[in-house]
């Protein structure tokens, strides 16, 4: 039972970055731009937000030491101390906003190259994917000193049972309550509820608003959209910016999930999110399903040794690799089974040229 709570909790934790980034990719592709730079955008989002969290934590530790030494806190130190001590989630929220903003700014580079300059979207995206981790290493190296390029995530970012103040499943007895506490609070960060809100917001935006309709039109038939007075360039900029917003937050969500701090990488999650997006058929709810599915199989892989009913492959050394392959293999099989129904936005990847109208 507790193992199940563990697995479900980790599944949710790892599904969140995939969900956010795949949604971002969807918004961009629905407007006609293939955002292959998601991996890079994630890294930049994670870099900026982790730098902020790290610096806040340093200031907080200094403030704590000053208090211990019996000094009074004033000005900046008092502010930081009160922020982290009383409302740590406010600081996390600020970091999330910074991640989103950084993601938007970084993805503007892609938007400029692929919309204004009509450059090949793969080329621009590849360049940005290469730039981001290198920039992150160089910057953290310069800030933290030689060779020390890991930014640790402070403890106070996690939402715990105590800090949330609520009781879950209390009416159902001790074991159910323990299950819920483990499921919800083993590793709960502010990114999770925010991701769920963003999922709803994006679904509404794409399907229920005028902006969403126009955005989709630009991904299907930009010439037709242009002919009824829709500014294709503007729509595509909006699509790419939304993808940067979501992928930036996704980068932070990945870093808190990975658990070992920011190390200038998101381990290919940006590319996996592209796969999840295609698997989810460019639809928000299907993307949610796809990311939970993929994350579940990934977690099964890392828990394989402690799940009793899984075959243990006696006689095979390092059989954990079989389980590590599992999510990728299962996704491939499902992609084949669903590929008949798969339908990408028609005009994605093609730069819009007014003169071809």
């Amino acid at each position: 039972m507790m193992l199940l709570a563990d697995i479900l909790s980790s599944t949710l934790l790892f599904a969140i970055p995939l969900l956010l980034v795949a949604l971002g990719g969807m918004c961009s592709e629905r407007s006609g731009i293939i955002n292959i730079a998601l991996e890079g955008v994630m890294i930049i989002g994670a870099l900026i937000s982790c730098l902020i969290l790290g610096q806040l934590n340093n200031a907080y530790q200094t403030a704590c030491k000053m208090l211990e030494a019996g000094e009074g806190l004033s000005g900046w130190w008092a502010l930081v101390y009160r922020l982290i001590h009383d409302a740590p989630q406010l600081a996390v929220f600020a970091a999330i906003l910074a991640a989103a903003l950084a993601g938007v700014l970084y993805s503007l580079l892609l938007a400029f190259a692929s919309i204004n300059l009509m450059a090949d979207q793969t080329i621009g995206g590849t360049a940005l994917n290469m730039l981001a981790p290198a920039f992150a290493v160089v910057l953290t190296w310069a800030i933290q000193g030689q060779g020390n390029t890991t930014i640790l995530i402070p403890n106070w970012t996690r939402i715990t049972v105590e800090s949330s103040g609520a009781v879950y499943g209390a009416g159902f007895g001790q074991s159910v309550q323990a299950f819920f506490e483990k499921f919800l609070f083993k590793s709960m960060y502010l990114t999770t509820p925010i991701a769920i809100v963003l999922l709803i917001a994006v679904s509404v935006l794409i399907y229920k608003t005028r902006l969403g309709l126009r955005l989709r039109a630009c991904g299907e038939h930009p010439q037709a959209a242009d002919s009824v007075g829709i500014n294709v360039y503007k729509m595509r900029y909006i699509g790419v910016c939304i993808s940067g917003f979501l992928a930036g937050i996704g980068g932070l969500a990945f870093t808190v999930a990975a658990g070992s701090g920011f190390q200038s990488t998101v381990a290919g999650y940006g590319f996996l999110a592209l796969a999840v997006m295609i698997f989810g058929n460019w639809k928000p709810l299907s993307i949610l399903g796809a990311s939970l599915f993929f994350a579940f199989f990934k977690i099964i892989g890392s828990y394989s040794s402690s799940i009793p009913f899984l075959p243990s492959f006696e006689g095979v050394k390092s059989s954990e690799y079989i389980y590590l392959m599992l999510p990728y293999l299962v996704t491939m099989i499902l992609l084949v089974l669903t590929s008949k129904k798969s339908r990408a936005p028609k005009a994605e990847g093609i730069p819009y040229d007014k003169s071809t109208r």
Binding site: M118, G124, M130, L131, W141, V336
Partner: protein
């Protein structure tokens, strides 16, 4: 070289110069006192000693192969992001042939071609028959290939260094200990350059580049592959079997990456390390190909260039992170997106001038 080619080269050189300038500005920002020396290191380390030059050639060989692989796929309208997996599987096949079966180096390279080709064929088959985007399949099979190779190596005791008396359990055996005939010949170059890195790998890679160029530009087969890349429907209408060509393109691209893996690990200076992260060499093929606009002959120079500044980047430490080099390369590629536009403007202006002259002539005749 025709005019178009000249414009391409000029655009690439402008991008490179701007990228270098950007890198220098970064050096100035992060550590002004060491910046000039840093730039000097980037630009001259590769030629400073014969040993360093040997290292440039040594890392250029696998880069050239993965660059060719990505470029070949680009030319045929496919994005081969799976070079990393193909490179890994190719390396695995080469090492198994060399260590487990004790075969000579040229057989190992053939084995690597087969391994890479199989891994390249998979995304091609999925695209041709199930309509699954090759980028997704390739990403998935990068991981499947990595984990599969690690699984296989862990279950082949003879492949591991520990079998041959070395203390490592997470590395493959050193070729020099297991089977000397699988080492790439050095032809005495190591003594000339006084560098343990140099071997004939770079010449093999250049040979492959020339063959690839000939196939793409001088054969009907290459023409058909390119035609499929430009317009799948039109080529099908013209009687070209598009499905077959998609698979063949990926098979060839995979084989090229696979050879890259063989060239790197048969050198005797590198051992395959069992890790859970994808090998970067496959991804570095993408900038190599882009910098050369996917031209196989251009790839020779872009691979040399990237290898050269990477060797220079190693000399940057500890004042700077060597990743400054990656930033420079990324900026160069980003700018090459601009240069597409520059190229278009140049050709457009050229065409306009031409049209004006034609009009002028017509008016005179009247």
């Amino acid at each position: 070289m025709n005019k178009r080619g000249l414009v391409n080269v000029a655009a690439s050189i402008i991008s490179i110069l701007l990228g270098m300038l950007f890198g220098f500005i970064l050096l100035e920002i992060f550590n002004p006192s060491a910046a000039l020396n840093g730039l000097n290191n980037i630009l001259t380390t590769g030629l400073r000693t014969p040993e360093k030059f040997g290292k440039v050639l040594y890392t250029a060989a696998p880069l050239l192969m993965t660059g060719l692989s990505v470029g070949f796929a680009f030319k045929t309208g496919l994005f081969n992001i799976g070079a990393s997996g193909q490179y890994t599987v190719g390396a695995f096949f080469a090492l198994v042939a060399g260590i487990q079966f004790g075969l000579p180096w040229y057989v190992c390279i053939l084995a690597a071609m087969v391994g890479g080709a199989i891994w390249g064929a998979i995304p091609g088959l999925f695209k041709a028959f199930f309509n699954v985007n090759e980028v997704i399949t390739a990403i998935m099979f990068n991981w499947i290939g990595l984990f599969g190779v690690n699984l296989a190596l862990n279950n082949m005791p003879k492949m591991l260094a520990s079998f041959w008396g070395a203390p490592y359990k997470n590395k493959t055996a050193a070729i020099s200990a297991a089977n000397k005939s699988a080492l790439l010949p050095k032809l005495g170059l190591d003594e000339v350059l006084n560098s343990p890195y140099i071997n004939i790998g770079i010449f093999i890679a250049i040979l492959f580049a020339i063959i690839t160029w000939v196939v793409l530009n001088r054969t009907t087969f290459g023409y058909e592959l390119k035609a499929c890349g430009y317009n799948r429907n039109a080529s099908q209408y013209a009687g070209i079997n598009a499905k077959k060509n998609i698979v063949l393109s990926m098979v060839i691209a995979g084989a090229l990456s696979g050879v890259g893996g063989a060239l790197y690990y048969l050198s005797g200076t590198a051992q395959y390390v069992i890790e859970k992260t994808l090998l970067g060499m496959g991804f570095n093929g993408i900038p190599v190909a882009l910098l050369a606009s996917s031209n196989p002959l251009g790839t020779i120079f872009s691979a040399m260039f990237i290898s050269y500044i990477q060797v220079g980047g190693d000399a940057l430490q500890p004042q700077f992170a060597k990743e400054i080099i990656d930033i420079i390369i990324a900026v160069i590629i980003y700018l090459s997106a601009f240069s597409l536009l520059i190229r278009e403007i140049i050709t457009r202006v050229g065409a306009k001038k031409h049209a004006l002259q034609e009009n002028g002539k017509g008016a005179d005749a009247k």
